[in-house]
């Protein structure tokens, strides 16, 4: 079956060429964040890493990522030592830009390798073909292009590790899967959101036998020792010098608001949108308006969000909602464990935390998007649930890259990706075993048709009509629109997960 054209490597070369051309493109403050981390890890002793606060972008990723930055800095010194000084805030020499951009491109090889492995473990030619298309869709995903190669982050590498881990789980190599996930957690703690799925699955399939009461002690010890030693390696040093509280306060800054400045497209975005609408309807409905909070949801940067008409949401509500959804799917996973259902549970854990979480960032959409991609071609029903997420998830990333010069690239690339891959998905996806759940495809068509004029409005016409006034309006529309699609996708997939 080497007659697949274009081959995986050919796509890789083409994508790399584009990424190289994007080196001089817009980059967000995350570029400076990572430069600062390079400087911190290179010039300071590890005991100072989590104390240093010259720059406002302090180190707030777990130790493995800090070590990764340290490794990068060993190469960085051959490019330009200027970027390795903590005091050089906003340093951006040509060499620095090239080095940091190239480091993203090179580190993305982890993703490439993990996708190749995902193809290789498939047993039948048909499954290989499907896996090939899924892998290509992830390799060429606009999400990675926008977040990693324009906005600037290292998600390609992180999700590469996650896919390695998921692939091991598919292959029933559970110990390695667990180890890889523990390593991933020590790189970036956002993956804690999907940890419950790992916990339930490893417990059920690895630590317990066919019968729930048949505890596999040897396995428990193997897994336990490996995970404890990984965390020991990562955090042991900081525990020894008594910096764990400081480290945790960096990793989990709890003093933030419900919504980010730009509302991540989740349930709270819809809630906030409804609140904004109700402000205008309130006089007619005789509702009380909390005038003090009129501007908060649209203006506040990383402050607290409060609502004018609807009741405010305390953190424990978001926590509770997330927990309930996650628990439901974990119970199902625990009762009927299978590799595919495990990936489904990972997806749903990501979904739940994205939909109901506290202060969710829009980049977190990758958390459900990537594992869902691996499942999308199970049959037509899954694909139907996947498509709104693929559309909304990518569009919701547009505000990350808000400069005019990048508008053509991000929109053209996303449209191309949607066009080519939706069509390819259609050609390989098997027919569903049972009937479709509800009129999901109709919703999908309407949803996608609304998308195009909306993007045109939010990206072009709004500024032509209003100039710089009402700046929050396009963002609000984008986020409400995307939230609707993601919600639809979530509900569709949740139903499929529970009924299949």
């Amino acid at each position: 079956m080497d007659s697949e054209h274009p081959t995986f490597n050919q796509c890789l070369v083409l994508a790399t060429a584009l990424k190289l051309l994007l080196i001089p493109a817009y980059r967000s403050t995350d570029f400076e964040v990572h430069r600062n981390w390079l400087a911190i890890t290179h010039s300071l002793h590890p005991s100072k890493w989590y104390l240093e606060d010259t720059s406002e972008w302090t180190l707030d990723y777990p130790p493995f990522f800090a070590v990764f930055e340290w490794v990068l800095s060993q190469f960085a010194q051959f490019f330009d030592t200027g970027m390795l000084e903590v005091k050089n805030l906003n340093y951006g020499s040509v060499e620095t830009v090239y080095f940091q951009r190239l480091s993203v491109i090179v580190s993305e090889l982890v993703l490439v390798l993990s996708l190749r492995r995902f193809i290789n473990i498939q047993s039948t030619p048909q499954a290989k073909k499907v896996a090939n298309i899924i892998s290509l869709s992830l390799l060429l995903s606009p999400a990675f292009l926008i977040i990693d190669h324009i906005h600037f982050q290292y998600n390609g590498m992180m999700f590469g590790i996650l896919i390695f881990s998921l692939t091991d789980a598919l292959n029933d190599n559970l110990l390695r899967s667990g180890i890889l996930f523990a390593i991933l957690l020590c790189f970036k703690h956002i993956y804690l959101y999907i940890a419950p799925a790992y916990f339930a699955y490893l417990l059920r399939r690895y630590c317990l036998g066919e019968n729930i009461w048949d505890i596999q002690f040897a396995n428990c010890i193997k897994l336990g020792v490996s995970i404890v030693s990984i965390f020991g390696v990562a955090f042991g040093y900081f525990a020894a010098i008594g910096q764990i509280p400081q480290l945790l306060s960096r990793l989990f800054p709890f003093s933030r608001g419900l919504c980010h400045a730009y509302w991540a497209p989740n349930a709270w975005a819809l809630y906030a949108f409804m609140d904004r609408v109700l402000i205008h309807a309130a006089p007619r409905l005789n509702l009380n308006i909390d005038t003090a909070s009129l501007g908060s949801a649209t203006r506040g940067l990383v402050g607290d969000t409060s609502f004018a008409v609807l009741p405010n949401i305390p953190p424990r509500v978001t926590f509770l909602l997330t927990l309930v959804v996650q628990l439901v799917c974990l119970v199902k996973l625990f009762l009927q464990p299978s590799p595919m259902r495990f990936i489904g549970a990972v997806t749903l854990c990501g979904f739940a935390s994205f939909m109901f979480g506290w202060h969710v960032h829009e980049k977190a959409i990758l958390l459900p998007l990537v594992p869902f991609s691996l499942l999308a071609l199970q049959d037509r029903r899954y694909l139907g649930a996947f498509r709104p997420l693929a559309v909304a998830g990518h569009i919701s990333l547009f505000p990350l890259v808000f400069k005019a010069a990048e508008f053509p690239i991000k929109s053209a690339y996303t449209i191309l990706w949607i066009m080519v891959f939706f069509m390819s998905f259609d050609t390989v996806v098997p027919v569903a075993k049972s009937q479709r759940v509800f009129l999901f495809d109709r919703f999908e068509i309407v949803y996608m048709t609304v998308g195009v004029p909306l993007i045109l409005y939010t990206e072009l016409f709004h500024y032509a009509i209003f100039g710089s006034r009402l700046e929050f309006l396009p963002l609000m529309f984008t986020s409400a629109y995307c939230a609707l699609g993601i919600l639809g996708s979530f509900l569709g997939f949740f139903t499929l997960y529970l009924t299949s």
Binding site: P6, T7, V13, P24, A405, A412, M419, M423, S424, T427
Partner: protein, 565 residues
């Protein structure tokens, strides 16, 4: 558009000299570009092929715009970007009578009128967004983020309104003429779109070459579709956008003249199967030997003259008080064709610069004499192509003739600019629509060294990508061509590496050494391309049939097939 009547009348050629189709050979080992289009052969994906190719091309084109434009942050004079911006500024603020006169020291307008009209349109639209971008005099050297994006966007829009449709239409008609498979046609289209030269100059360096080339290619496509009058109109528009289009003009003229004139019974006749334009009309028969289609000839003449007339009429009508209409037109011609300048301005990879290293022309000959010699040599260089097109005005020969003619001009004519190499290169790339074979891909793939200041990244990435997409490491069949290609690539790579690494010593004594090396290398490569175009055109015209008659063609075909597989 035109009905496909001529296509149905067309008979496929009986003999094919080269393996022209990759469609049947998959999944053997085609070049990556063909591989990328492979999924689009199935019926469900077929309708996506054109959008996919065009959008991908756009993504790469736009990605090049992140590089610096010519003269970015480079006062006092800035560069080509400022020239174009300045023309937008003067055309929207000044009356038409001042366009070719206003402060000529600061990037005075020196392109034909259509460029001025195009600038006016862009300037008007830009002024709606922000007036300060094009404020008269005050905006000289103006640079801002939004203005830069706007200017880049005007290039992209012009490109996608004119050049891109033109190559889509051209590939359609040329592949019909030559009987090329539909799948191969899209590969050819993608090849044309991936060609790095035009992208680097227009989207990186900043110019609007694609408009002129687009009009010219639309003209060629019209000729292929038997729309001679539309074709000549479009060709005149190309000329009125950029005088460089004249490189193509002799070939176009010879082709049209050849269609109107036919010889009694010899050579080719009105019955030639690729002919569509012999549709009655008035004909003058001279002594039974020479038939002249006077009607077509007259109509063509009227079209050309009136199109030119319309283009320049506003300058003559609104000539203002200071100058008469004649003075206005005279000034335009003077600005567009600066004959007073020397033989060359820059180090260009043509005959003059290359041989100047040994023979110092300017010391030994006067400018007037040089002009005459250069004219003579140019005429000599383009003559074979024009004669071939005149005697055998077949559609499949048209792009070859045009390409050869442009090479002739580039190599030998007067006042050549480095960027003019786009004309022969683009014309030469057009022939891929007539079928793809290894030789052809190798030859059109040979990249000229079009590196521009500050665009090193874009140049390297696009050129490497192009070489990879066409698998240029697979060399042509003949030993001589193999050696030549290897030599050129080795030379080019060595030059680039040496330029980056070697410092001091020789470089300090001869600061021009890299430029000169570049000129010599490119001149060698370009001359070979010129000869190769001549050879292939003669072959296409059937002139070489007599010499290779011993070789059984079918055997050769099979052998080639095997080789490619």
């Amino acid at each position: 558009m035109a009905p496909p009547s001529s296509a149905t009348a067309h008979k496929p050629r009986k003999r094919k000299r080269h393996v022209r189709s990759y469609s049947m050979q998959l999944p053997s080992k085609p070049f990556p570009l063909a591989s990328f289009l492979h999924p689009f052969r199935t019926s469900s994906m077929k309708r996506l092929v054109l959008p996919t190719v065009l959008i991908s091309a756009f993504i790469f084109r736009w990605a090049v715009t992140y590089g610096p434009y010519s003269g970015e942050h480079a006062p006092p004079m800035f560069g080509d970007f400022e020239a174009q911006r300045h023309w937008m500024e003067i055309t929207i603020h000044l009356p038409i009578s001042k366009w070719y006169w206003y402060d000529l020291q600061w990037w005075g307008l020196d392109y034909p009128p259509l460029t001025a009209y195009h600038s006016w349109l862009c300037g008007k639209i830009g002024s709606i967004v922000d007036k300060s971008w094009f404020a008269l005099d005050a905006s000289r050297g103006y640079e801002s983020y939004n203005q830069r994006v706007f200017m880049r966007a005007t290039v992209a829009v012009s490109d996608y309104l004119i050049y891109i449709p033109s190559i889509v239409i051209f590939t359609k008609w040329y592949s019909r003429t030559t009987g090329t498979d539909k799948y191969d046609r899209y590969i050819a289209l993608a090849t044309l779109l991936a060609s790095p030269g035009l992208i680097i100059i227009d989207y990186g360096h900043f110019q609007y070459n694609s408009v002129m080339l687009g009009f010219a290619i639309l003209a060629f496509a019209s000729f292929l579709a038997d729309r001679l009058l539309w074709g000549s109109l479009l060709f005149v528009m190309a000329l009125s956008f950029k005088q460089m289009g004249l490189y193509y003009a002799p070939a176009v003229f010879a082709y049209l003249l050849g269609l109107c004139v036919s010889f009694g019974n010899g050579g080719r006749g009105a019955g030639d199967d690729e002919e569509g334009s012999s549709n009655g009309g008035i004909k003058i028969n001279i002594g039974g030997l020479l038939k002249v289609d006077v009607q077509t000839l007259a109509l063509l003449g009227i079209t050309v003259v009136s199109t030119f007339g319309i283009m320049v009429a506003p300058f003559a009508v609104f000539h203002g008080e200071e100058h008469s209409a004649v003075e206005q037109l005279g000034q335009m011609v003077h600005r567009v064709f600066p004959f007073a300048r020397g033989l060359w301005e820059d180090k260009v990879a043509n005959f003059w610069c290359a041989t100047n290293i040994v023979f110092k022309y300017r010391e030994k000959l006067s400018t007037a004499a040089l002009q005459k010699i250069s004219l003579g040599l140019t005429v000599l260089a383009i003559l074979p192509f024009c004669l071939l097109l005149f005697l055998r005005p077949k559609k499949r020969l048209l792009p070859w003739g045009v390409a050869g003619c442009a090479w002739g001009f580039f190599l030998f004519s007067f006042q050549v600019h480095e960027k003019s190499v786009l004309l022969p290169m683009v014309a030469m790339t057009l022939v891929v629509a007539g079928g793809l074979d290894r030789d052809l891909l190798s030859w059109i793939g040979m990249w000229p060294l079009l590196r521009r200041e500050g665009l090193g990244l874009q140049y390297t990435v696009l050129t490497a990508l192009w070489s990879w997409l066409l698998s240029l490491h697979e060399l042509p069949a003949s030993i001589f061509a193999k050696a030549l290609h290897l030599g050129v690539y080795a030379g080019a790579i060595t030059l680039h590496i040496a330029e980056l690494t070697v410092k001091g010593g020789v470089v300090e004594r001869f600061p021009d050494i890299w430029v000169v090396g570049n000129v010599i290398l490119c001149f060698g490569a370009f001359s070979c391309m010129y000869l190769w175009v001549l050879y292939r055109m003669a072959e296409e015209a059937g002139l070489l049939d007599d010499f290779v008659i011993q070789q059984p063609s079918e055997e050769g075909e099979k052998q080639r097939l095997k080789k490619v597989e």
